[in-house]
Symmetry: C2
Subunit: 601 residues, 2 copies
């Protein structure tokens, strides 16, 4: 086990090779020089890292990326080649002593306090508070933002998918091929898992982060087989008896029997597909999960065919009843099936796939193995999943294979939060969603807007004023508390000046809106959580390393403290973030001191 | 120089540590096993990598990522720890020989043909054609897609920004902090440069890819200074005479002189800001580019102030003429300025910043240095840039400093393609845009949908049918040609079966729409470009390595071959992609062979 960890560590180190002091904006380094040159080497600053708006039009965010920030601080060091590069890049007249200063720079005098990774967090409440030498704290800005922004965005996105999917559905992340770069894919896998996904298709993410990996086969696997002759191996050893079973023979027989039960003729199913599924089942008898929609040829657009071809379709088939839409699309309607199990007919989309799957699954069953299920990657997922479930129930009942009714149905194909909500409304029988592009690129909002603002220097508060009141920063060294009600729900996040005493359980606290004078509330907390823990001090990480699974649990337990109306998808209620009366007055006095006074004539 | 290259190479290797065979979807490996187990080890396949729709509602795409794909093939190798991980992850009953097979696997029998990196490319025309052992070619799918998708998306996005900005404006990529992960940021910097950006703020990208890096200072630098006492150093050595200059004294004097010219009183400017700018100028006398909008306090929202505060503003200032909007917003109107240089007044946003900047720039000038310019990061960028330009012209004329009129004006703040188009319409005087979030996350469409489809196996063509004609693949081993007209513009891309002779200059070629029978055209090319070059064969990269700057040039030269109406932002004309008559018939015959025939009763 220890060797495995060291392998994972090496992989991490390779990945983290790019998370280094030069992974920053040049202006951090030019500012560092200007500070250094103007004698501000011993200035001490406090920066807050926070965001102003929750992503995805929601009212909560999941904080993630802290562990990566800690690794960055641990490894913060300008290499000789970094210094050499900077010397080439910065103007020639930079004093050489500055490079010596940079070379020796570490984060040993920095103190970072942070909210626990995986917690729900809200606008304006700093996620990280960074204190220490102005120059060093400034140099950390870009990298910390990079590490927190995407991690938190992804974890939040994943948590939202988890909420709409519900607890009983599995969620798999399938996004690597569409991710923003190789590491975009790895980060997506990691933070999707933290946010509540159950696994990923990304093997390297599985290896590096110990996340369950999942995956079966693609359409290309099915299309690589044309006929039953493409099966090179037909024998499987029985799971218990160890006798050889001929899976091809058995599947052919089952296909014939099942075809009468689900009213699909064996001629309507593809032999190439059957060959592919048999081959796959022989390779993975204990993990047979098959893609069943490769032959989805339900409709033809006649505009897409030559007249010669059109003739070949429309002629020679007595009883062909063209069903012409206004756009020239002709629906090729299958023979009317008087279903023996309810009113639904098996859509052509799954006619071939479902029949072949059932045949192979029943053949496997005879050989002592239980199939896992199917994946549907196109079409009307709600309808097709219901159809597949009905088929499995019917087949299971007819042939007395009760577990057949419980086969897993996986759905993929461009799924997003809204798709799941819509499927929920329509009713579906999907057990697992495989989600790619929309999840990993956070298509609905591909960036979180965390900022890093100077709030104190040499003990003096700093306020950043703006035309836009939403952009005014809350000055000074602050603490943050979460106040809980008697029912365990979080009521409000309260920012105070660090000099103030912490709120006390059972005692009334005046909570004020930071900018709207009349918005005030007394809160009597049943429980008070101090949100900040020092996680970096004296050049060391102060908190125990936490496995991903624990951070993942934290996400769910933290979300449970939020009222449902704050978490809901449509028109969620904003969670309240307040300041103490003391901090309120402090902000507004400082504001006036700093704002120039206009004159009107 | 060689040592620098080796450093860059090492950095690259570190970054590329994650681009390895396990950076893939698990199903590639399970399929590999199923192929292996079913005796398909010697099957030979052809896969096409292509996309179906251009991104950003445009009609072209820039192909990028090829060099990364080649590095991936070069380093393709399962390590012992990879094999160990796979053994833990795949089912127990996998035959051990499969792992030995994987361990020995390389890309030596793979042939990759590709379009030149940096070329404009179009839907359906394969960017890469991958031929070789089915199992190996299948195992490359996900990683090749990951490497091409984001690279091409970013390069295309950047090229679009370049087109709307025009040739004479500089474009800088500032997106690292909002990118999708550290490598998302690095990839963004690299491919933004390829797409036509002039530089990046990302220092590591500069170091690794030899991209110009740019950056000056942030608002926090300005707010870290409160008063003139915060300046610890006031002396600068004259550029020519080497005499000491007192920059503070000189700037104070200039501030007073400039204030009368631009009608801003020195009291309206912030001393903290002046202190910051002087300190910055002393550090970077040859690179003085200053952020001038830190003190942007033009409007107050009175709802955001207590009544006590409101009183302090409204009382005691005779002549205060409240200008109350319906929402309670009061515009703090500055004293009416009867501008001496046209009708514009200096907006409060830049009142402090412009005055302080001019003062320091003129002080620098006395000391033998030329300031570079300003950055504006908020407000009405068109208006403020015009105002700044007028100010510079006026000041330059008044004090006989002619180069002042040509100072650089950089604009940033959430800029996207539409912002630039709108600024162009309004008229602006911006020389350089710094672009972050929208560029690097490709906010308008954060993923390109490249796919990787099996088109031939063991010499037999494969067609993937679909309900959606747009998703039908073009089968077989193909070549692609670009046919050019006499004026040098690209007319059409033509796909042919590889067995067909190439189109000949001056000879009529029948070009057909792949799916619409009646859409045909004869084209007489004046020049024919064979789009594919073999770039990987016999286990080696076959094309000479190309510096980024050459790929960047290729983007612009390739874009020049496109007619303007194809490139325009609004309702661009689609570029035509056609198939030969032979390929057309081949597709449609195969389609009919593979599509099941429905029956109607």
């Amino acid at each position: 086990m220890s060797s495995e960890i060291s392998i994972a560590d090496k992989q991490m180190a390779r990945q983290n090779g790019i998370v280094q002091p030069l992974l920053t904006d040049l202006y951090q380094i030019t500012m560092a020089y200007a500070y250094w040159k103007s004698g501000k080497v011993n200035d001490v600053a406090v920066f807050d890292l926070f965001f102003r708006t929750n992503p995805f039009q929601g009212e909560f965010t999941i904080f993630a990326g802290l562990e990566e920030c800690m690794k960055f601080l641990e490894n913060f060091h300008y290499s000789n080649s970094d210094i050499k590069y900077l010397k080439q890049t910065l103007p020639e007249n930079i004093e050489p002593e500055f490079y010596l200063y940079l070379k020796e720079l570490t984060c040993k005098d920095i103190i970072v306090s942070a909210i626990e990774e995986g917690s729900v967090v809200f606008p304006r409440v700093p996620l990280l508070r960074v204190e220490g030498p102005l120059i060093v704290a400034q140099l950390l800005e870009t990298t910390l933002l990079t590490l927190v922004n995407f991690a938190s965005l992804m974890a939040t996105n994943a948590a939202r998918y988890r909420m709409v999917a519900g607890k009983n559905v599995s969620l798999l992340e399938f996004g690597l091929r569409r991710a923003q770069g190789p590491d975009g894919g790895l980060s997506a896998s990691k933070y999707a898992y933290i946010g509540g996904f159950d696994g990923t298709s990304n093997v390297l993410a599985g290896k590096m982060f110990n996340i369950p990996v999942k995956g079966t086969h693609a359409h290309s696997f099915v299309t690589s087989f044309s006929t039953l002759d493409d099966i090179h191996r037909v024998t499987l050893t029985h799971a218990q008896t160890r006798e050889p079973c001929n899976l091809l023979e058995s599947a052919m027989e089952w296909r014939s029997r099942v075809s009468t039960v689900i009213d699909v003729s064996t001629e309507e199913s593809s032999d190439g597909e059957l060959a592919a599924l048999i081959s796959y089942a022989i390779a993975f008898p204990t993990g047979f999960l098959a893609l069943v929609d490769t032959y989805d040829v339900k409709r033809y657009n006649f505009q897409g065919l030559t007249s010669r071809h059109r003739q070949r379709i429309t002629n020679g088939h007595s009883g062909y009843n063209s069903n012409c839409g206004t756009n020239g699309t002709i629906v090729q309607i299958a023979p009317t099936i008087h279903s023996t199990y309810g009113s639904s007919t098996v859509e052509r989309t799954l006619r071939s796939g479902l029949l072949n799957f059932c045949a192979v699954a029943l053949a496997l069953n005879d050989c002592g193995y239980r199939a896992v299920g199917i994946r549907i990657d196109s079409g009307d997922l709600a309808y097709l999943s219901v159809l597949a479930r009905e088929t499995f129930e019917k087949v299971g009942e007819t042939f007395n294979v009760p577990w057949f009714a419980k086969l897993t149905i996986v759905a993929s194909n461009d799924i997003n939060e809204e798709t799941i909500l819509s499927l929920n409304e329509q009713g579906h029988k999907i057990d697992c969603f495989g989600i790619g592009t929309h999840l990993v690129t956070c298509q609905r909002q591909p960036a979180l807007g965390c900022v890093y603002k100077l709030v104190e220097i040499n003990g003096q508060p700093r306020i950043k004023l703006s035309q836009d009141v939403g952009k005014v920063t809350i000055p000074g060294h602050k603490e943050a508390y979460r106040l809980f009600g008697a029912d365990g729900h979080a009521l409000i996040d309260l920012l105070q000046r660090s000099s103030e005493p912490a709120p006390v359980v059972g005692q009334k606290v005046l909570c004020r809106h930071p900018f709207q004078e009349s918005k005030r509330a007394y809160v009597i907390p049943s429980y008070v959580e101090h949100l900040y823990k020092i996680c970096w001090k004296d050049g060391r990480v102060c908190t125990a390393p936490k496995p991903l699974s624990k951070v993942r649990e934290r996400v769910q337990s933290s979300l449970r403290t939020l009222r449902q109306d704050i978490k809901r998808n449509l028109n969620p209620t904003p969670y309240k973030v307040a300041v103490s009366d003391d901090l309120y007055n402090f902000i507004h006095d400082l504001w006036l001191q700093n704002a120039p006074i206009g004159e009107l004539s």
